[in-house]
Amino acid sequence: MKKETITAIILGLIFGGVVAVFISLKSKDIELSKNKVIAPLEEKSSSSSLVGAEMEPLEISEPANNGIVEKDTIRFKGTASKDSLIVIQSPIKDLAIKNTQGKFDLEFPLALGENSIKIVVYPKEKQFRPQEKYMKVYYIDSEL
């Protein structure tokens, strides 16, 4: 066989291979673009109803957890979702208020010694779960 014929056969094989790979990739793309995902209607509608709905997390800037104070009252300061119900409970006090502003600043009494306090926020939007925080504040009288 002539040298030119062998070169032509090799080049032909290479070109053929390249064309075959290109066609195979292209046909895969076309197949993928034609595929459709069928989802249940309920799932689709529930996800669309939560679009844009974000709840402001409960943040407490004051008092500090495990903090020591010298007064028998503290102020709970922080933020929670607007129009949520805030419940603060300790052995000596129960407080339930509607958080109309988003920010809150509430006076809360303390007992001498350790004060175990639980704060629960019930959001206005019922699809969200209540948010909870637990803290201890120590009231140690400065005269002790």
């Binding site: 052995p91 129960d94 339930a96 509607k98 001498l112 010694g113 140690i140």
Partner: protein, 232 residues
């Protein structure tokens, strides 16, 4: 620790200045009366500075811990808590102990503290040991909340499932303070056991003594948020 050393060095420096001032004043007091007044003022300012700094350092390093007493002897005790610090050292000249009786307190000796007492300790922590300034012997309260899942009308008991999947069994007795939130006014109203319903949210307080079984407690106080609040 580094901070403590720095603060201690600062206080030592201030004390050195104060001592220097006092020595200086002594040696120059015979010279004239007017410089003494100025030095007195300086000394007072220094004294105030030192007092403020000492109070600041004390506040910075002051911590409070609590727990049931596991063991106790003449000058130390160990508390059972999950914190890093649970060793308490007593200082004869510094440590004061009190028993909390409702809204009042009664001074006691550290030797009056017994095993299984619930102790609240405040003091300075060094190397995971707290040197007690104050020890308060009090009751231990647990505060939590959850949904009422079961009501046993015969035994006056309710089961409450919390958000962290704990189920509490609460005995409601004559001493239990029972309140309900009025869904219109959000005011607290006193109620009886018959007003409790499955599905209501219960915020509760119980006294822990340390040997409870199956999460069963006599309820000290419950506050109910009726389920109607959430469906209005």
């Amino acid at each position: 620790m580094k901070n403590l050393i720095q603060n201690t060095l600062f206080v030592c420096f201030l004390i050195t200045l104060l001592v220097g001032g006092v020595v200086g004043q002594t040696s120059s007091s015979s010279a004239s009366a007017s410089p003494t007044v100025v030095i007195d003022k300086d000394i007072q300012q220094l004294k105030d500075k030192i007092a403020n700094k000492v109070s600041e350092i004390r506040k910075e390093n002051n911590k409070a811990i609590s727990g049931f007493v596991l063991s106790i002897n003449e000058n130390k005790m160990k508390l059972n808590n999950s914190e890093d610090v649970n060793q308490v050292k007593f200082d004869d000249t510094l440590t004061k102990a009190f028993k909390v009786l409702g809204t009042t307190k009664k001074e006691i000796k550290t030797s009056d503290i017994k095993k299984n007492d619930y102790a609240i300790v405040s003091g300075v922590v060094v190397d995971n040991v707290i040197t007690a300034n104050v020890v308060l012997i009090d009751e231990n309260f647990l505060v939590d909340s959850g949904k009422i899942t079961e009501i046993d009308k015969e035994n006056y008991n309710i089961k409450v499932l919390t958000s962290d999947k704990n189920t509490y069994s609460l005995d409601i007795d004559t001493g239990t303070k029972q309140y309900l939130i009025n869904i219109k006014t959000l005011e607290r109203e006193t109620i009886g056991f018959s007003k409790l319903k499955e599905g209501d949210m219960a915020h509760f307080v119980v006294k822990k003594v340390g040997d409870e079984k199956d999460n069963n407690y006599p309820a000290y106080k419950i506050l109910i948020i009726p389920q109607e609040y959430f469906i209005k």
